[in-house]
Amino acid sequence: MNKNQRNADYLIYVENQSPKSGWFVSLFRAFIMGGTICCFGQMISDVLKSFYPTMNLLTVGAWVNIVVISLTIFLTAFGVFDVLAKYGGAGTFIPISGFANSIASCAIEYKKEGLVFGVGAKMFYVAGPVLVNGVAYSMLVGIIYFVVSLF
């Protein structure tokens, strides 16, 4: 048997042997965790609006982000956030909390390599690809929007 065939057979066998994460449990946990974070954000928004009825929606949104991000960084620094994330998965990663955690955790981890080549260079180690993708897809959508608006 040649090596490629042997490896291909082996990989199929390994795939069948390897335990999978239960998708229903994962989805349910993500739903609970993601939902809780979003409800929390909504709560901050509602509280702000009740205190300052004249505040415009953009400012309210900015305050919600500031609070969620600060809280995430706080929880990351105290080693709590990764425990929540292990439970919540995408439910904690998709809201802005995941983005804040990815930057804060890198900053903490690489602080030991100094401020320039440590924190400075590696702070966006995990968040970088998210940013690049965000910008790239925004450009793509922008071009489509432009082309569509011509007609």
Partner: protein, 334 residues
């Protein structure tokens, strides 16, 4: 020493493992092998500013404790052979600088412990050296940083992943003919690559290497699994050991209850560790803590240890190359 078959070497009179010592972290201490891990530490930073320094301190402490307990003078040791899983073997290299004796770095990732012992046995059996110090270690927090993500980054682990052991093990091998357990045969493994790409699935990547070495050893020595009291693989984890059993069964070798995997038995089964432990410190600590003790008590008479190492780097993995693996075997008799 003479060669037997393709890859196996029979030592002429056996090389004594006169002392062994291990130091592990809290998680390992709370595992099923707690009774065999006498020394442990609760602060995983070891009082150091970085985890890399902590790992060095852990290894140095393990070695100095062993020397102190057995009243051995460091200057009586001819060579130090050891390895770890960090880039450029930094942990072992820095510790070797502290010890100030001739040093050979041995890298085969998590198979470093058996590689070191096998090389040391050959050197001693060939009358080149009298005493050789061997070690291997790993630390969860340094391995996580080098191979995966920052510690506080919130992500989920795959159900087939493993948890790097925080621990160090060291042994002193000597020519003197004592009642201590003896290394009697060694078998150097080949690098085997079955095309596994997933860094989280180390067990699947390393199982073929271990199966290859063990199969060759059985052919070389004309023995079967029942001839041994214990056959231990290094850190295949639960999934990896199941695959290992299957691979050998295909070749007509059926492993019985005398087969264990150090990675599978070091931790309690929970959501964090998934398939069990991994890392160079895994087989090193289980060997010098559990297996060595049992050998000394004569509970085990003939033991095969096959530490298993995955030889990729994060760079080769990101470039799409699969994970090559190796497994070196040592046979120890009480």
């Amino acid at each position: 020493m003479k060669k037997q078959g393709k890859q196996t070497y029979v030592l002429s009179s056996g090389v004594s493992i006169v002392a062994a010592h291990t130091l592990v972290g809290t998680k390992e201490k709370h595992g099923p092998l707690a009774n065999y891990f006498k020394d442990y530490f609760t602060d995983d930073t070891f009082g150091q500013p970085t985890f890399e320094k902590a790992e060095r301190e852990m290894l140095l402490t393990t070695i100095t404790e062993m020397l102190k307990k057995n009243k051995i003078n460091i200057d009586d040791i001819d060579i130090y052979i050891g390895g770890d899983i960090l880039n450029q073997l930094v942990t072992t290299n820095y510790v070797a600088e502290q010890l100030q004796i001739p040093f050979i770095g041995a890298y085969s990732a998590c198979s470093s412990v058996t590689e070191s012992i096998a090389l040391a046995s050959a050197l001693i059996d060939g009358n080149f050296c009298g005493k050789i110090l061997c070690s291997a270690c790993s630390h969860f927090s340094t391995a996580e940083r080098q191979y995966r993500f920052p510690l506080e980054f919130g992500n989920q682990r795959q159900a087939y992943s493993q948890w790097t052991v925080t621990g160090a093990g060291c042994m002193l091998l000597s020519k003197e003919d004592s009642a201590c357990p003896k290394v009697t045969k060694i078998c150097f493994g080949k690098v085997v690559d079955y095309g596994v790409l997933d860094l989280a699935n180390m067990g699947a990547a390393m199982a073929p290497a271990a199966a290859d070495t063990l199969h060759t050893f059985f052919i070389d020595t004309n023995t079967t699994p029942t001839d041994y009291d214990l056959i231990a693989t290094g850190d295949l984890g639960k999934l990896g050991s199941d695959i290992f059993r299957d691979l050998l069964a295909k070749d007509g070798i059926n492993l019985g209850n005398n087969y264990i995997d150090c990675g599978h038995m070091i931790f309690n089964e929970d959501e964090q560790c998934m398939q069990g432990g991994s890392g160079a410190g895994c087989s090193a600590s289980v060997f010098s803590g559990y297996i060595y003790t049992k050998l000394k008590e004569k509970k085990f008479k003939k033991v095969l240890l096959l530490a298993t190492g995955a030889l990729m780097s994060t760079t080769t993995n990101q470039q799409g190359d699969s994970i090559p693996a190796i497994s070196h075997l040592i046979m120890v008799e009480a």
